[in-house]
Amino acid sequence: MAKQVTIDAKGVHYTPLNQQIRKAIEDGADEIVVNNVLGQRFIGNGLRGNATIRVNGVAGGDLAMFMSGPTVIVDGNAEHAPGNTMDSGKVVIHGSAGDAVAHSMRGGKIFVRGDIGYRGGIHMKQYETQRPILVVGGSAQTFLGEYMAGGLLLVLGLDGAMKAREIGSGIHGGEIVIRGDVDEACLAAGAKKLPLTDEDRARIAPVIREFAADFGLDAEPLVKANYTRIVPASARPFAGKYTWE
């Protein structure tokens, strides 16, 4: 039988709160419900295993940083850099998230139903079977996918026009897929646009379906929609800058 633990975060500093969550996982909890979260940082930080942590409220910065396995579901917004340097597991945010979402993420999934701030997906990277995925339901801000070195960054633009400019500056791996057309002027130096091929669509379809299921959306129109794929113009964006003494 699944073991559920409920924690009241009201007025609790993040260190004892995270200790309680860690303890619950150590004691074998499968689901931890944390109520009244009001900006406590580092929830899910460095945790292993496959428990589900439900955060009711607004999650503070560095949610699920270094996390390796668990699922974190936030019924609310998340502050700066959720999924920072995350290894594996899943973060589902029903609201919006701050800047640097998925910073240096190397595996697992982050689904944000609303918008994300600046520098989303910055320096995401992949290695062998570890391929991070960031999906944004709403819009992303400027410097999306900066320095990106691997993984998939998908923006669905469900709530209106995409705001990001300077997309993919310094990108040298991975792919950014944005629903609809993206003006060439919004691409940073080092990024280039490609049409989405049938293979690409087949690859992203399961991700879209999973996202839609998590948020109760109709997946098929999104699977069939028109997308722009943005990839590195070169795997070595800085190679041409230097000479040796």
Partner: protein, 505 residues
């Protein structure tokens, strides 16, 4: 690219004394740059590829090989020096930023060399380390500003202040951060074994931790840099301490870049990036865009490791160093490593290497003073790094306010490095800065670790003797003890900044 310069004057010339040479061919085997080749039974020389690594000289059984730097003179000129002219030739040909290896070559005075140490004479007796202990054991990390005790009913007194984790060093000399990838695995293993043998620690650099180093993980300070290469919770948990790299003395304000050629299968596993891909470390940590973001990263790493490990931060020494250090101290870190402008590097743009930053002597002195002024000195330990060359640099750095030092280039030299500055070519003939298996195999980790351990032992002995001569029997009494230093030929402004008196005073 074509130019009208033709070939440039040789940087080095290699000659073979043909009367001594017995055509054994060891030079041909040993030079990875292809300077020597067989032509029938004669050895031909192409000096243009030479890096002055000395490998051929050390392996020539007849001492027949000779190396000369700058065999061709330019017309001498104090303004339009050879270096200036050659940079212009290079850049007018390529149109690019010049990268260079190893530390600064700027010919600026070295403050350490202008600081004299004290010794006891008639008013106080020196300590003889042969019969009295001179304590070098050092603890890095926060020290409580006061201690609280509780008395138990039976009268026993117990410490009730909660202590934060510290690192215990048997000698205040640590091996600084140089990544696996930049260095070979054998070099890393040698350093790790030396750290273990001498009771000190080594930095991993930002390349992750190779499984070959797991046996030494309790001697490793694992680094988290802006690229986050090789960083996951497993890596953080393995280290004895965790260092956040915020800057590097050789190239303050810019990131780093390990070229894909150096990302071998093993390096790729350790860094967790695909083989052959460039490892680009951005200039800032993109989750730190202001000083208020730093405590967030520090606390995030602390939370991930359950506050069981000291967290270090490394910054480059630049203007407003004192304020930078105080700000970092307030972020909650346990130690701050300050990297002076002479710090080494695999590669850095020449303009940064030679022109950006301030000397480590000044940076440590001002950091120590500022932390004392703000009542923060007990909150952090200070580590001096960037061109610590000998035991006297260590003792002077500590007298200026450091708790310990990191050595980098000195440890490489102890393994055979000749400071040729060509690490970036990935062909280090000593097996230190290369991933080519045949070259890596040239470095025997047993021999190299012994050499590094010997160096640390020797310096430790010298420090003990110097402290004894000054009547100081504990490193605690040396730390920040500027009264035991005197400046020789340093100007008044600098003496004031260092808070050191002039010789004679």
């Amino acid at each position: 690219m074509s130019s009208n310069f033709g070939s440039m004057p040789l940087r080095y010339r290699i000659t073979i004394d043909r009367e001594q040479c017995m055509e054994c061919g060891r030079c041909v085997e040993n030079c990875p740059y292809g300077v020597f080749r067989w032509d029938g039974n004669r050895i031909l020389i192409n000096s243009r590829n030479c890096t002055a690594c000395h490998r051929c000289l050390t392996y020539c059984p007849r001492d027949a090989i000779m190396l000369q730097e700058h065999p061709c003179d330019y017309r001498s000129h104090p303004v339009w020096t050879r270096a200036v002219r050659e940079s212009i030739y290079n850049q007018s040909r390529t149109g690019k930023i010049i990268l260079a290896g190893m530390g600064s070559v700027a010919n600026l005075p070295i403050i350490f060399d202008h600081l004299m140490l004290d010794a006891c004479q008639v008013t106080t007796p020196p300590t003889d380390p042969l019969r009295e202990p001179v304590e070098l054991r050092t603890y890095l990390g926060k020290k409580p500003s006061k201690l609280d005790f509780t008395q138990k009913p039976n009268g026993d007194v117990e410490l009730s202040t909660e202590l934060t984790p510290n690192l215990m060093l048997e000698t205040p000399i640590m091996l600084g951060h140089m990544s696996y990838g930049a260095l070979s695995l054998n070099a890393h293993v040698a350093m790790a074994r030396a750290a273990k043998e001498t009771g000190t620690y080594m930095g991993t650099g930002e390349g992750g931790l190779h499984p070959g180093l797991y046996p030494y993980q309790d001697r490793m300070i694992v680094q988290v840099a802006s690229g986050r290469f090789g960083v996951n919770v497993d890596y953080l948990e393995r280290g004895a301490a965790i260092e956040l790299k915020l800057g590097q003395g050789a190239k303050p304000g810019i990131g780093g870049h390990l070229p894909g050629e150096k990302v071998s299968a093993d390096v790729s596993r350790t860094r967790m990036i695909p083989q052959g891909s460039d490892a680009i470390s951005p200039a800032p940590h993109h989750d730190i865009y202001g000083i208020e973001d730093l405590p967030q990263l520090v606390n995030s790493v602390k939370e991930a490791t359950e506050r069981k490990k000291p967290i270090f931060a490394k910054i480059a020494a630049v203007n407003n160093n004192a304020e930078n250090v105080a700000a970092v101290a307030r972020s909650g870190v346990d130690a701050i490593a300050i990297d002076g402008f002479r710090g080494g590097t695999g590669a850095a743009p020449r303009v940064f290497r030679d022109h950006v930053g301030i000397p480590i002597e000044v940076a440590i002195a001002t950091a120590d003073q500022e932390l004392r002024k703000q009542g923060l000195r007990n909150e952090v330990s200070l580590i001096a790094c960037g061109s610590i060359r000998e035991s006297t640099d260590v003792i002077k750095a500590i007298a200026l306010g450091a708790d310990a030092v990191y050595i980098g280039t000195a440890a490489l030299v102890a393994m055979g490095c000749r400071v040729c500055g060509n690490c970036y070519q990935g062909l280090c003939p000593w097996g230190i800065a290369t991933q080519r298996p045949d070259l890596v195999a040239r470095l025997d980790p047993d021999v190299a670790s012994k050499q590094i351990a010997n160096l640390i032992h020797a310096w430790t002995l010298e420090i003990t003797e110097l402290m004894g001569a000054a009547g100081i029997n504990s490193i605690e009494s040396l730390r920040g003890n500027r009264d035991r230093l005197r400046g020789y030929m340093l100007d008044e402004g600098l003496l004031e900044i260092l808070d050191v008196k002039s010789v004679g005073a």
